[in-house]
Each structure stands twice: as C-alpha cells, then as structure tokens.
C-alpha cells in the first residue's frame, strides 16, 4: 500500500513512448472487469462520453465478465493490436499485475482505475477510498440521523470482496464512540433482490432497527422494498453508497425520498480520459495516484448533482 | 460319460419374483453336455428370467445353480462367462457405435504387449467366427449400420467366441430368414458334437422338432411338462404350453375382396441422404383391397420394412417417384400423423424401440394415437379413455394385472397386442404390419391371426410383412415378393406353398418373373 506517493511525475524512466501531441490519432483500450455491476457500466459510459469530446481518441472496450483470466486475454489482445494507451479497471490485483506490467514495459501508458494492481508498473492510479466513504457514512449517521444513539442494520457486499470489508470497517470507524449499535449484518452480494430477501429476514428478527446501512444503493433499495412490504418503511432511514447518476441509481432514490442519503463513489471515467489526454495530447506529466473525493448526497443536493453529471 | 454322474448344469428350486409377479416358481432344470435342451412356454412364462439367472444377469433369486456339480452363485454376467456360461439375449444387446469385432470382444479385448487393443488380431478372429455363422461381414463395420438379422448373427458369433460350455440361445432366429436359420443349425450341430450344452428358446415350433433333444415346458413360471423332443409334435408342444388345444393356427376363410384401397405403382424412393443398412423402394407395385390380407415376403434386407415405412411416411426424407393411390386418391406420405388421420396404421417391427414407452401405463400407450380425438377442447375424459382401453384389452385378450401397470412389465406377446390395439383404436382402413408375431408365442399368435381375420372381415385391408414363410402362406391371400427393393413376383397362396415362396425370394426365376411387374426403371 503506497498511498502518499503523489510524485508529480509519470514514471518517465520506464516510459519509452514518445508523446505524439495533438496531431496524432490514438486508440485507447479500456479493459473493464465486468459490466454487470451498474457502477462499472457507468464507468465505461463516462469514458465513452468523455472520449467523444477528444477528437484524437477512439476507445475500444473489453468486458472480462468477472474473470481474471479473460481480462488477461483482453489486455493481450489490446497489446497485439498495439493500442496507444491502456485503461484498466482490474477484476483483482495480483492476477492482472503481470500483464499490466507487460504493457507498461512495452512503453504503453497504463491508467489503472478503481482497484489497484500490485507493485508500481503502471502510469497512474485513479480511484476512490472506500474506507473514507464508509467513515463518512458512519459520521453522517452518528451526527445527523441518530445523534442520541440507536440501532443500525447492515447489508454487506459480497463476502470476501475488498470494498465490502472497507466500507464496513470505515463505517464502524465513523460511529466509534457513539451509542450506536449494529444489531445485525447480513450479506447481500451487491444485488438488489438479495438485499430484499435478506432484509425480509433482518426486519423479522429486528423490527426496531432505525437506520439501515447498505454497502451499495441497489441493496438499500431492495431493503426499502422489504420494509415497505412489511409496512415499516416510515420508521427507519436508508443509506446506500455509489450515487450513480443514472435513472436506476442512488441519486434518484435520494431525490425521490426512498433513501435518506447516499455517498458518491466516483467512477473516475472522466478523470481517466482527462489523464489520457494529458499523457498523449498535451504531453504533460501526471501524478502516480489520484484519489477521488466522495460527496454526501441528501435530498438537498441530489437533483443538482444528477443534472450536473448528465449535462 | 461323466455327465451321467453330474449334469453340466443343474438348477434346483429356482424362484424369482418381480413385485407381485412370480416369474419363476421352484423350477428344476438340467442341461447335459452335448444336448440341445429346448425351453418352451408362452410369453411371460419365465423362460428368459430363468436363463438370466443361469447367466448371472439376474442375481436375487432363490434356489441353487450348479455347474458340473459345483454349486455357484454368480454376481454378474462376467462371473458366468468365466464359469463357461454364455447367453444370446432376446433383445439384441450390442453397442451401435462400436465395430463388429469390438462388440464381439467387448469386456475381453485382446491386448498387444503394450497393453493396447490388438485390433488386427480381433478382426482376424472375428472374420473366422462370422464365417462359421455363414455371413461375410467386415469386422470393422460399426454394428449400428447392420440390419437386425445381421446383428443377430453378430450376437451369435459373440457367444461362439466365448467358447462356452453352456450356450443359452434366447430366440436366436426371430429376425432370421430360412437360409440363415439353416446355417445356424449347422453351427449348433457342430457345438453339440463338441460337447457343449445348449439351451434353446424359440416360439417357432417347427425348429424344436428339428434340433432339440429334450424339451421342457414352462407355464406361469413353473415346469409343466418334459418331453423327448424327437417325439414332440408342434401340436402337442403348443397344447402343453397353453394348457389347452390350440385351434387351427391359420384362418380358413373365403372373403370376397371389396374395392381397392391401395394401389402402388413403380414406387421409387431416392433418399436425400443415404443411410447405410436401408434398402429403399426401387420399383414396387402392388395393390390391396378391402378385406384382403396381402403378404410382403422376401429375404433379409429385401426392403420390406422400408416399403411399409415409406408408405406410412416414416422413412427418411427424399424424392418419391411412382404413384400411390390410397382410397382412390393420390396419396403423398407426409408423416405418421398425416397417415394415421388418413386411415393408415403401422405396427412397427421392433416394439421396444419403436412401439412402446415401457415405463408408461398400458392405458397411456393404448390410447396414445387417439388421445387428442376422444375428448373435446383438447381434454381427455377419463371414463371414455378407460372404456376404450378396457374394450380393446378384452377384445385382444391382453393378459395384465391392471391397465395402470407399466407396459414394460407385460410379456412380449402382450406388449405386441398393446401396440396392435393402439393402432386398431384409430379405426384404420389399411393396416401395415411389420413382423407382427416376432417373439410371440403360439397361443398369442393364433389370437393375433384371428384378430387379423376379423379385421379383414370388417373391411380393413392388411399389408403384412413377415419373415415366416408359414405365416405368409397361412394368413395371406396373396404375397408380393420383394428382392433388392423391387417387387419381383406375386403369388396366390391358394396355389403356391412355402417352397414356391422361398424359391421366389431367392430369385429363382425372379428375373423372368420381374417382367410380370411392369415398370421398374421407368
């Protein structure tokens, strides 16, 4: 974990490629871990939209379907085609490290999005901090929703996945020292329907829950549906994470009052294209790490943020 | 000889039940070295079950089996084979995708020194075995490409290859025509001379007198009689089996045939894709009138089955030339459903493969062809359905516990009657029968012939393909003889006998007579 290495310079030593400048045409390969997660589909969409504004860029997408091995092949195919820049949102770190290094060592700039790879054989990493997001959520619950303490139910992401761990740990740090009890945690596998059926059982066992914290918006929405079916949705508040600016996303859910709050987990898609532009067109250096800020969304700012993101 | 002291095989007090059915009850049976012991009995009498016990296929039985005086208890067919007992099964049990040689040596492959399969040696030995059975087949051909009769010969060769001391033959000739049967009898005589004990099961009574030394008759799972086979007449054997004198096997009747319902002229089928093992119609002409039973004769592979399948629309896709007039109108076979609706009905050659869903009830199988017609709005009224089944079951004298029983638990002959009954329920005007009495006991045969007569009486036309000369001569009014997919001759059974039929099938004078049948190449 290198977190403080904002070196300011792209690792120019290993970088043999020359910046082509504004006259070139550039093919960017975007290797996505999977598009079944709305967040990642939105990442692709953001990249597509941002790249459309850069006339020198054309982007090709590959979908690894949650399979590390397929993602390795996808990157290999990009290398065969001799792309000019690789954007990768890795399925997992270790399995993709060597193929990313291979690309990087061939002189292809590599932008790693969201999940990292091991070592430092890449040009830049862009992503958000899940622990930070979890902590923000916890602090919001402690300060605003339950200033006098209370009971919280948690619906976690897929057991064993890193974001689930970090979003859980961060939340606990955020409510540290307050009189807030997490009465039960269940696994929702990131899925809306799983969130719903798990919440069915959760509310059965703990009808007195005051806040429901879900590791993503779809599970929070599922829990809301379960509460509504049980007729107790007015007795509690729902918080999710992701805040995707799409019609089925968390921003709309907050705006329409189903969720009390969500925290933006930025996709980094636009930032990745901006970075690519700096590297290929503007011939500028980029920092090794670019951490994206989260934003707390409540009914006050939900509509504004949604419209901004889709303008 | 020591077989006077202890017989080759001694089965004592053998009993075996399937659920409520007692297939064998306290049976005693001995087989001596160098004898052919015929096992007779109606369908379902327990012959196959008894022999499956001897060959280690059925193992949960009561009673003891001794080989050469040694009590044995087989747990698998392989055990029995090691002890020198081989069985030719009633249902041809071969693997279609494997070659003839691979089938013969299945489970006992010849290996090279590298432990790999020694194909050359296996093919060589197989060639010899097949020669002994009087058939020239390439040992490398997949068995699935062979005709039923050829497959039966392969199973015989397979049994020979075991060099067994005891050889059980369960209806080995049911798919063979007379020439192959003769060859097989030669083989059996050889085996007998070399001291092999043979158990021979057949429903063809004429065979018993010719080759058997002794005969044991089973009825309802129990031994009811033992004979010296040389003194056994077909009538006496039949009576012992059925328990009462069997009425005249063949009908004696004189019907005035009515209008013509089928006229086939110069039928030729060119299949879209060649399928090996088939002999498609290649110039067939014949007619069938109401109330008439027309036989289709010919040697193994002369194209009888293919003719019936083509008429019924159940053969392979292809171009038809020539003309079919059915009930006076041109008929274009479009598939079984279409033919059934038009008034045709086919009783296929192999009831297990093409006739019945063995796990399903007698009811479900019997009404299958009319199930979408007996009700309204696509629903099946139970009462009417059961009524129809009960009526046909009692008309055909099907022996069963209840009509809800799985059809697979019936004996072969009764299964055949169920297929027959299903087709009768469709009220056809033309019945196409393909070897309808194969594996059927004398009693049931007589009943089926009677049914045929009654059907004809009611104005149905029948086209009957058979390998049994006696059946063709005894049951049919006329017989059309096929050879190589062509109709080569037509005989009137009032004048011609079995010998004429055989001669015509073998093609003696066939070339000359082919002129009788117009067309052919045209």
């Amino acid at each position: 974990g290198t977190t403080s290495e904002n070196s300011g310079q792209g690792n120019a030593g290993a970088q043999e490629s020359e910046c082509g400048g504004p006259d070139g045409k550039y093919t960017i390969g975007m290797s996505q871990a999977n598009v079944a997660e709305p967040y990642r589909q939105r990442m692709d969409d953001d990249i597509k939209a941002a790249a459309a504004e850069v006339p020198q860029f054309s982007v090709e997408f590959a979908d690894a379907q949650q399979d590390n091995a397929k993602q390795v092949s996808d990157v290999e195919n990009f290398l065969t085609k001799q792309i000019d820049l690789l954007i990768i949102s890795p399925n997992e770190a270790t399995p993709l490290t060597s193929v990313v290094a291979k690309a990087y060592n061939k002189g292809i700039p590599v932008i790693v999005l969201d999940r990292k790879v091991d070592g430092d054989a890449y040009t830049t990493w862009i992503g958000a901090d899940n622990v930070e997001i979890g902590r923000t959520a916890g602090e919001y619950v402690a300060s605003t929703l339950l200033p006098d303490g209370g009971k919280v139910g948690e619906i976690r992401g897929l057991a064993g996945s890193t974001p689930a761990k970090e979003r859980g740990d961060g939340f606990r740090a955020g409510i540290e020292g307050k009189d807030i009890e997490i009465v039960q945690s269940v696994d929702g596998d990131w899925l809306r329907e799983k969130g719903q059926s798990q919440a069915d059982a959760l509310f059965k066992a703990h009808p007195d829950i005051q806040v429901l914290y879900a590791h993503n918006d779809p599970m929070a929405e599922g829990a809301y549906l379960a509460a509504k079916a049980a007729g107790i949705e007015k007795n509690m508040k729902f918080i999710g994470i992701d805040g995707l600016p799409i019609p089925s996303g968390g921003l709309k859910a907050v705006e329409q009052g189903r969720l009390s709050a969500t925290l933006i987990y930025p996709t980094g898609g636009r930032e990745a294209v901006d970075t690519a532009k700096k590297l290929l067109v503007d011939c500028q250096a980029v920092p090794k790490e670019q951490t994206l800020e989260t934003e707390l969304i409540t009914v006050d700012n939900a509509a504004t943020v949604y419209n901004e993101a889709n303008s | 000889m020591d077989n006077a002291v202890s017989p080759l095989v001694e089965m004592i007090g053998i009993s075996k039940s399937y659920g409520g059915v007692r297939a064998c009850r306290d049976i005693h049976l001995t087989v001596r070295a160098g004898e052919v012991h015929a096992l007779l009995g109606e369908n379902g009498a327990g012959k196959s079950t008894l022999m499956k016990i001897l060959s280690g296929d059925v193992t949960d039985h009561d009673g003891t089996v001794s080989i050469n005086g040694e009590p044995v208890r087989f747990t698998a067919p392989a055990d029995a084979q090691r002890a020198g007992v081989a069985m030719i099964h009633q249902e041809l049990d071969l693997v279609p995708a494997l070659s003839v040689a691979e089938n013969i040596f299945l489970g006992r492959e010849v290996r090279t020194r590298l432990r790999t399969v020694d194909r050359r040696r296996m093919n060589q030995v197989t060639r010899g075995l097949l020669e002994r059975c009087g058939v020239a087949l390439d040992p490398r051909r997949p068995v699935g490409e062979l005709r039923t009769g050829e497959q039966q010969l392969v199973t015989i060769a397979k049994a020979l290859s075991l060099s067994a001391k005891v050889l059980i033959m369960d209806e080995p000739t049911s798919a063979l025509s007379s020439a192959e049967v003769e060859q097989m009898f030669t083989v059996i005589s050889e085996l007998r001379r070399s001291g092999v004990g043979i158990v021979y099961i057949s429903h063809r009574m004429d065979e018993i007198g010719r080759i058997a030394d002794r005969a044991t008759v089973l009825r309802n799972g129990a031994v009811v009689a033992g004979f010296d086979a040389r003194e056994l007449t077909a009538e006496a054997a039949a009576e012992a089996m059925v328990g009462r004198p069997v009425q005249t096997m063949f009908r004696t009747r004189d019907v005035d045939p009515g209008e013509e319902i089928l006229r086939v002229t110069d039928l030729v089928l060119t299949p879209r894709r060649e399928r090996s093992g088939r002999r498609e119609p290649d110039g067939i002409s014949l007619t069938v009138r109401r109330g008439e039973i027309v036989g289709v004769g010919g040697l193994l592979g002369s194209g009888r089955t293919e003719l019936l399948e083509t008429l019924y629309g159940a053969g392979p896709a292809g171009t038809l030339r020539g003309e079919i007039l059915f009930r006076g109108k041109p008929f274009h076979p479009r598939g079984a459903r279409h033919s059934v609706r038009a008034g045709m009905a086919l009783v296929p050659e192999d009831r297990r493969v093409a006739g019945l869903s063995l796990e399903h009830s007698v009811t479900a199988n019997t009404v299958l062809s009319i199930v979408d017609r007996i009700g309204t709005a696509g629903f099946v009224p139970r009462a009417r359905e059961h009524g129809a089944v009960r009526r046909i079951v009692s008309e055909l004298k099907v022996k069963l516990g209840s009509i809800g029983d799985a059809v697979g638990t019936l004996s072969g002959g009764n299964q055949q009657k169920v297929v027959f009954g299903r087709m009768l329920l469709t009220e056809p005007v033309l019945l196409l029968l393909d070897e309808p009495t194969r594996g059927v006991d004398v009693g049931a045969k007589a009943e089926i012939y009677q049914l045929l007569g009654e059907a004809a009486q009611q104005g149905i036309g029948v086209l009957l393909a058979s390998s049994e000369l006696a059946e063709l001569v005894g049951v049919c009014d006329r017989v059309v003889v096929l050879s190589g997919g062509r109709s080569v001759r037509e005989l009137d059974t009032r004048q011609a006998g079995e010998a004429d039929l055989l001669a015509a099938s073998m093609g003696e004078g066939g070339a000359a007579l082919a002129v009788d049948v117009p067309g052919g190449e045209a």
Binding site: A205, I246 | A364
Partner: protein
C-alpha cells in the same frame, strides 16, 4: 403405487419443513419461521424460480432442458421497464409484448432443437448468451428504474401491484401468480391430450412419432411455454424490484432445474409432475429461509444446499422403477 410416488416427491419438502419448524429461531417465544409474514416471504422469494420451474418441467418432460430461462427473465425485466418507462406503453400492452417476446424466444429455441435436431442443452446455452446480449443492448447495459406516476418516463401505478400484498396485506401478489400458474399447469398436465403427448415423447420419442403424435409441434410448444413463463417471471421480477436490469436472473436456470429434479422429474424425460416441481421449489425456498434466519455463514450455506440437493435427488431414486 403412483400415489406412493407422488407422496415421495413431497417427502423431502415435509422433512425440510419440519426441521425448519423444530429448529426455528424464536422471538418473544414465537417461532419466527412459522410467522405468517415469514411464510409469505418464503413463497414470495421462490415465486420467480417457481414460475420458471413450472415451464422447465414441461421441457424436461420431453427430455429437453432450457438453460436460457434466467437470461430470458432478465430480458423480460428489461423489456417491461424499457417499454413502460422509455416508450410510455401501458401495463397491458407491455405485459402482452413481453410475454410474446418470451414465447417467441422459446419458439426459436424449440425450432432449432426440434426441427434441426440440435441438442437442447447447446441450443439453450447459446440462447442464454443471446438473450443476455439483447437485454444488454436494449437497456444500454444499465438497469432501467421503474418510477410510478402519470407523467412521461413513469410507469402506470397499476404495475406496482406486483410488489404488493393482498388478503390483509399477507399474501404477496407474486406468490399468488405462482400459485395460479402452478394450479393451471397441474390441471393441464393431468387432463389434457397435449400432456399425454408430452409424456409419450419423453418416454419413447420414436414410438410417439409413429403413433401419430405431432412430435415436432409438441416439442416446439413446450419451449414456447417455458419461454412464456420465464418472461412472466421476468415481469414479476421487474414489478417486485421496480427495475429491469439485463443482469437479472443470472444463474436462476440452475435453481429452476434443481427444483424440477428435486421434485422427482427425470432429466431423461417421460416421468414427473408439476406437483413435484412445486414441492421442489418450496423445499429450496424453505431451505434458503431457514439458513438465512439462522445467519448461517454463506459459504457453509453453499455446502449445505449442495448436500441437500444430492440427498433429495437420491431419495427420488427410491421410487418404484419398472
């Protein structure tokens, strides 16, 4: 004997149910498992799988299999959402169109399998990918949210009924739909001539054909039924979750097949019943609920479910064979 067989297919369900009752967690002395709400939840949670499994039963009875139902559910969910939200169709029109899509998809698969003789496993494996691909393209890859109201971009409120409960707020509508589908299928399979053809084809296809059964037509029809019911499940899914996502229903086909097989229907065709399938689906539902109520570790849940499926299928073997 056939009574015994039917009884056996319910045996596993009863056993699991009893275990769930006996070991139910308590709350203020009440058995949580037997709570009316909880039981309603069990049925609601299984209703989509159950509806699909009923259709699957038909396909399996003719000796086929349909791996595409999960993807068709996703496609139908997407279709429901897109048609109502983006294209402003009414509920009735949407439902009809989506059901027809499912039916047509089943039809194409039936055609490929019955007419061209390609094995159903492979046809529907491909169909699964194709349905997912279409759903992804149609939805733009994202779940389409269903908001209710009168305006453009909003779905008619009537559709939200699918997320509601009736009879004093106890019986979930999806559960009711499941029950109706099951009852219709049970009656149909017991009394119709079509059902006889289905069983006959599964029992011996060649014999059925020679007996005049329209084999190809029946086979195509069962695939149509299966596609239709998968689409119905997809509509229910969209209504329950207020969203249609192209990823919905992932892996559901295996649950549906498991329900059918646990219910005693043979994958070789020719034997089985919808009653068994319903029992199989409920067994899986009770099992899920039981493991969930106890908060069993999800990994252990996988193990337990695997074992229960094998044991349940093994019990079926005890039925009398011919």
């Amino acid at each position: 004997m056939s009574t015994l067989f039917r009884f056996q297919s319910l045996f596993g369900l009863v056993a699991v149910f009893v275990v769930a009752v006996v070991f139910s967690p308590r709350h203020n002395g009440e058995l949580l498992f037997l709570d009316a709400d909880n039981l309603a939840n069990v049925v609601r949670a299984m209703s989509e799988i159950g509806i699909m499994a009923v259709g699957m039963t038909f396909v399996i009875l003719v000796g086929g299999i349909d791996l595409s139902v999960g993807a068709v559910l996703g496609l139908a969910a997407v279709g429901s959402a897109v048609l109502m939200v983006n294209d402003d169709f009414g509920v009735a029109a949407t439902v009809v169109i989506v059901l027809l899509i499912g039916l047509f998809f089943g039809f194409l698969q039936g055609l490929a399998s019955a007419l061209f003789g390609i094995q159903a496993f492979i046809v529907t494996l491909a169909g699964m990918q194709i349905a997912r691909g279409i759903a992804r393209i149609w939805s733009g890859g994202q779940g389409v949210a269903i908001a209710y109201g009168e305006g453009p971009g909003e779905a008619p409120v009537a559709f939200s009924l699918l997320g509601e409960r009736t009879f004093n707020g106890i019986v979930p509508i999806p559960a009711l739909i499941f029950v109706v589908v099951a009852v219709v299928a049970i009656v149909f399979l017991r009394t119709s001539a079509f059902a006889r053809h289905v069983y006959a084809i599964g029992g011996n296809e060649k014999a059925a054909r020679l007996s005049g059964v329209p084999v190809t037509r029946v086979k195509i029809t069962v695939f149509c039924i299966c596609g239709f019911l998968a689409a119905l499940a997809g509509i229910v899914h969209a209504g329950q979750l207020n969203q249609g996502s192209p990823n919905d229903g992932f892996g559901y086909e295996l649950d549906a097949i498991a329900a059918v097989v646990i219910g005693g229907t043979s994958l070789m065709g020719g034997r089985g019943s919808v009653v068994g399938t319903v029992a199989g689906a409920l067994l899986l539902g009770v099992l899920n609920n039981f493991l969930g109520l106890h908060g069993v570790d999800p990994n252990v849940q996988l193990l337990v479910k695997g074992l229960v499926i094998v044991v349940a299928a093994g019990l079926q073997r005890l039925r009398p064979s011919v």
